[in-house]
Structures are given as structure tokens and as C-alpha cells.
């Protein structure tokens, strides 16, 4: 019995010391980490939906998905697209929708900007694990990626790949990635449409 108490005490003591140190480190780093994350997500949002607000004001307002009461799982051309978050541009020009969906290899997280006229203003992939050199080009900063993403500017919810009779040129060797990106864009626009009619 004594032995068990001793073991418990030693383990507790060490855990308590480690927890204390971690608390202190968290205190020091927390502000910097949140600031960096806000800056990063603002940059990603500004890339798809530029805003024009006086300096010093918040660029976007996050909307609470639960309060909106709109379905967050959207079926676009047979693919399930999940809406992760939506924020409204503070100059009233539109919304930025964060979508999550399956690509060719894994989950892709993508920001889609949608304006009041229900047109896409741009897309930006923030997270993916597509094949390097093929599907990964969709997120690339190189010309091929920039050109691919630029095609989505101005499209509406009926956007399709050329193969399916639409206007988007798929990335070579990456039809599945291209199709899922197209479907997610369509889903984001459908979501904003529902958001507009709910208001």
C-alpha cells in the first residue's frame, strides 16, 4: 500500500511540475501564436475576397454556423462538401466560405470568396495532401497553380470542368483534384445563396 502511494506521489509531482512549466510557456507564447493565426487567416481571406475598410478596423466578422440554421453539408455534383466556417467582409462586399472536402489523396481545406451577385471572387487552398507535381499544383504559387485558380474568378454555382461541359480547364494528370475543387466552389456559392435567402 505504501509503495503504491509513493509511486502515485512521484508521478503526480512530476506531472505537476511539467504542467506548471507548460502553463508558463503557454502564457508567453499564446499572444504571438493567436496574432500569427489571425494574420494568416486574414491573408488567406483577403486573397479570395479583398475588403476595403478603414485602417484599424477588423476586416471580417466570423458568423456562427450553428446560429445560421443552414445545412453545412452540401452535395455538389454528387460530392459531399463540408462548410467549416463563414465570415462576412466588413465592407459588405461578400462572404468568405471555408470548405473541407476529399481530394485525390486526402482532405483539402479551401477558402472561397463569394460576392453579393453570387459569383466566386477567388479560391485559395490552405491545406492539402495532394500528389506533389500533379494535384498539388492546385495550391501551388507557380504559374500553373495561379492560372488554374484564376479560372474560378467570376464563375457561378453551375461551374463545371470542361470534361463535363463547363468552363474550367482541369490540371493535367489531376482530374480528381480539379473536379473536387470545382465542386467545392459550387458548394460554397450554394451555401451563400442559402445564407442570403435566410436573411
Amino acid at each position: 500500500m505504501n509503495k503504491i502511494l509513493k509511486l502515485t506521489f512521484v508521478l503526480f509531482l512530476i506531472c505537476a511540475i511539467v504542467a506548471g512549466i507548460l502553463g508558463a510557456v503557454d502564457l508567453i507564447t499564446r499572444d504571438r501564436i493567436t496574432a500569427y493565426q489571425t494574420e494568416k487567416s486574414n491573408a488567406a481571406r483577403a486573397a479570395v475576397m479583398p475588403v476595403n475598410v478603414p485602417e484599424g478596423q477588423a476586416l471580417y466578422t466570423d458568423l456562427d454556423l450553428k446560429d445560421l440554421g443552414i445545412p453545412t453539408n452540401i452535395n455538389a455534383n454528387g460530392q459531399k462538401i463540408k462548410i467549416l466556417s463563414v465570415s462576412e467582409a466588413n465592407d459588405g462586399s461578400g462572404w468568405v466560405v471555408e470548405t473541407e472536402f476529399s481530394g485525390a489523396q486526402g482532405t483539402i481545406v479551401m477558402m472561397v470568396g463569394v460576392n453579393q451577385a453570387l459569383r466566386c471572387t477567388g479560391i485559395s487552398i490552405t491545406q492539402h495532401s495532394e500528389t506533389s507535381g500533379l494535384g498539388a499544383n492546385a495550391a501551388s504559387v507557380a504559374e500553373v497553380g495561379v492560372n488554374f485558380r484564376a479560372q474560378f474568378k467570376g464563375v457561378d454555382e453551375h461551374v463545371q470542368l470542361k470534361k463535363a461541359g463547363g468552363e474550367i480547364d482541369a490540371l493535367s494528370g489531376a482530374t480528381i483534384t480539379s473536379r473536387s475543387v470545382t465542386n467545392a466552389t459550387s458548394a460554397a456559392i450554394q451555401f451563400v445563396e442559402a445564407l442570403q435567402s435566410a436573411n
Binding site: 508521478l11 506531472c15 508567453i28 506533389s132 507535381g133
Partner: protein, 228 residues
Amino acid sequence: MNFKKQLKEGVITNNPILVQQLGMCATMAITTSLFNGVGMGLSVLIILTCCNVAVSAVRKFIPDEIRLAIFVVIIAGFVTIVDLLLQAYIPALSESLGVFIPLIVVNCIIIGRAEAFCQKNPVGPSFVDGITQGLGYTVVLIVMCLIREFLGSGRFGGGLIDVAKGITLDGTGSGIQLFNSDYGASILTLPVGGFLTLGFIFAAMQAALKKAAKKKAEKANEEEGEEA
């Protein structure tokens, strides 16, 4: 135990990756650019050294039955500290290493050294052991990065070096392009390329170690012969 001997052990004769074959998952996954390799290597070096010192300092108070649990708590603590510091001060590195920083918690090198070395040795040698083993790990990572980056995308020093800006510590450098990346064997930048590269380095290392051992044996034989 002196520093020179431990350094030789850590980097060559008892290298954590090439001889002990520990921590290979992260090795194969992250060695795609020099920036990642140096960052991961130094992170492991720092965590390993801190853990070695901590484990060795408390080794006399730790009951044998719960030593593994305590090692894991100490390691997880240091890894979380490094993870938070990286997120706050070098976010580019934190993003590009991704999940592999938290995964250092279960990296066998650290718990392996705690179990095999630090719980039997005082703080001083344990500290040196952390640095030398960490260096051994870093050296292998850098070699793998150089090979994979060069053959896979024709680059040198991706993330860390930029032609225009010199050395970039924020991971934005594009590296020095030695040949057009279209002619690179892009398979080497994929995980399978990690397996291949590591396999060849293993083979080369084993061959070199064997040759050295043979030479030593021959020398010993010759000396014996002279005496006779």
C-alpha cells in the same frame, strides 16, 4: 567518457539513425528540403539534450516501476515547449514540419537514450550524449535532404538559402536551382524516395563500418605478427 569518443559514437559508430535505426518515420517524411532537415534536426537535438539532462537529474528519485511513464511525461513536456516556441517564433518551420514536431514525443531516439544511457549516467555525460546523438541525427537528415532535393527537384538549400536574399531563416528562400526541376526524378520527393535514399545510405554506412573494422583487424594482426 570523453567528448571526442562520444561525438564519434553519436555521429558514426552508434549513429541514432544509421546504426541504432531509431526515429526513421520522421526521417523519411520530412527530408524534402534543407530547411526542414536542419529545423527538425535542431529541434530533436534541443529536445533530446533537455530530456537527457532532466531524466539523468531525476534518475535517483524515479521508482523503477513507473520510469517509462515518467520519461514520457518529461519528453512530452519538452516537445510541447519546443512546439509552442516554434509556433510563436518560427511559424514557417512549424507549418512545414507539421505533425512531426508533436510526434517527437514518440520518437524512439529520445526514449531510447533515456532508457539506455541517461538513467545510468550522471548529468554531464548525459548532456554531452544529447548533443552528440542529436548531431548524429541532424547530419543524417541533412545528407538525406541534400540528396533528395538535388535529385528530386534539382535544388540546393530549399527554404534556407535564396539567391537574392542570402540566408533566409523564415523558410521563404527558393534555394539554388542547379538544373530545371522538370528533369528531376520527382519520385525522390515522395515518401518512397525517402525509403530508397535511406536504404542506400544504410548500405553505404554498413560498408564503410565493415571496411573500417576489417582494417582495424588487419592492423592488429600485423602488430601481432611483428611481435612474434
